[in-house]
């Protein structure tokens, strides 16, 4: 998968999360929080190259591995920014864990639904092809 495609994917994911949170939340958000959100999205999406390297593995195993690695990287990122920029809130890691996990699960479910609907569509086309023979 090309890098520019990955960057577009990161932007799409970041936009969806930001716009949805604009719908459901009121008040303000700090610029720092937005920057963190972008970094975490970039980690999550950018690390998806693992799906290509482990193509022959079952999807579920790769998802678990990807989740573990990316969650670790997100925690590492939070720890580093805690040292360099501002200390992490006492509930910071917990919030990060829940937010990232929730979004990851939703994205996985959405991916699986899309995959199944693609298969159904292709089966309809295969049926059409064999009927036209």
């Amino acid at each position: 998968m090309k890098v520019e495609n990955k960057f577009a994917d990161i932007c799409i994911a970041f936009t969806i999360i930001t716009v949805l949170s604009s719908f459901f939340k009121v008040g303000t958000v700090s610029h720092l929080h937005l920057s963190y959100r972008f970094a975490v999205t970039a980690i999550g999406i950018g690390s998806m190259y693992i799906f290509e390297y482990l193509e022959h593995w079952p999807l579920r195993y790769v998802e678990i591995l990807h989740y573990g690695i990316s969650m670790g990287m997100v925690f590492l990122f939070a720890w580093v920014t805690g040292i360099i920029i501002e200390p992490v809130d006492p509930n910071g890691y917990r919030d990060l864990f829940f937010n990232y996990t929730t979004i990851y699960v939703i994205a996985s479910i959405a991916y699986e639904i899309k995959m199944r609907s693609d298969i159904a569509k292709q089966n309809r086309l295969l049926m059409e092809i064999s009927n036209q023979d």
Binding site: A8, C11, I12, F14, T18, S22, T28, V29, H31, S35
Partner: protein, 133 residues
């Protein structure tokens, strides 16, 4: 000027603007409202989707079409701003002025990028055809 994958381009531009503003705004410690983010996304969508005007004004010159595009999209942005003032929260006294300045600057910057790309392509083509002869 035609744009494919308008939603992807909208997400990329929205992300870029948000991140650049976040990085610059981090130092000031200021926050941004969720409404502002939502409005920014809608304005980006208006700006990108209004490129379809170029399909309708195929017979016009590039400059004329760009001007028409600016007028139509600026009007759409003002209408949207007024609607948010009615349904969400009243528009700030300087709201329309800020929207006008921000949108015009961004539009001009993007138009200049497209225009220079087009100019460079023209120059290269002229060079290529003169090389042939």
């Amino acid at each position: 000027m035609k744009i494919e994958n308008k939603i992807v381009v909208s997400c990329v531009i929205f992300t870029w603007i948000t991140i650049i503003q976040s990085v610059l705004g981090m130092r000031s410690g200021e926050n941004i409202t969720y409404i502002h983010l939502f409005i920014r996304f809608v304005v980006t969508l208006i700006a990108i989707y209004s490129f379809t005007i170029y399909d309708l004004l195929d017979h016009w010159s590039e400059t004329k079409a760009t001007f028409a595009h600016y007028l139509v999209s600026m009007a759409a942005v003002f209408i949207f701003t007024w609607l948010t003032g009615v349904f969400i929260e009243p528009v700030h006294p300087n709201g329309y002025r800020d929207v006008f300045l921000n949108y015009t600057c961004l539009f001009t910057a993007v138009a200049m990028v497209f225009e220079s790309k087009r100019y460079i392509a023209l120059v290269l083509e002229k060079r290529k055809s003169s090389d042939l002869f």
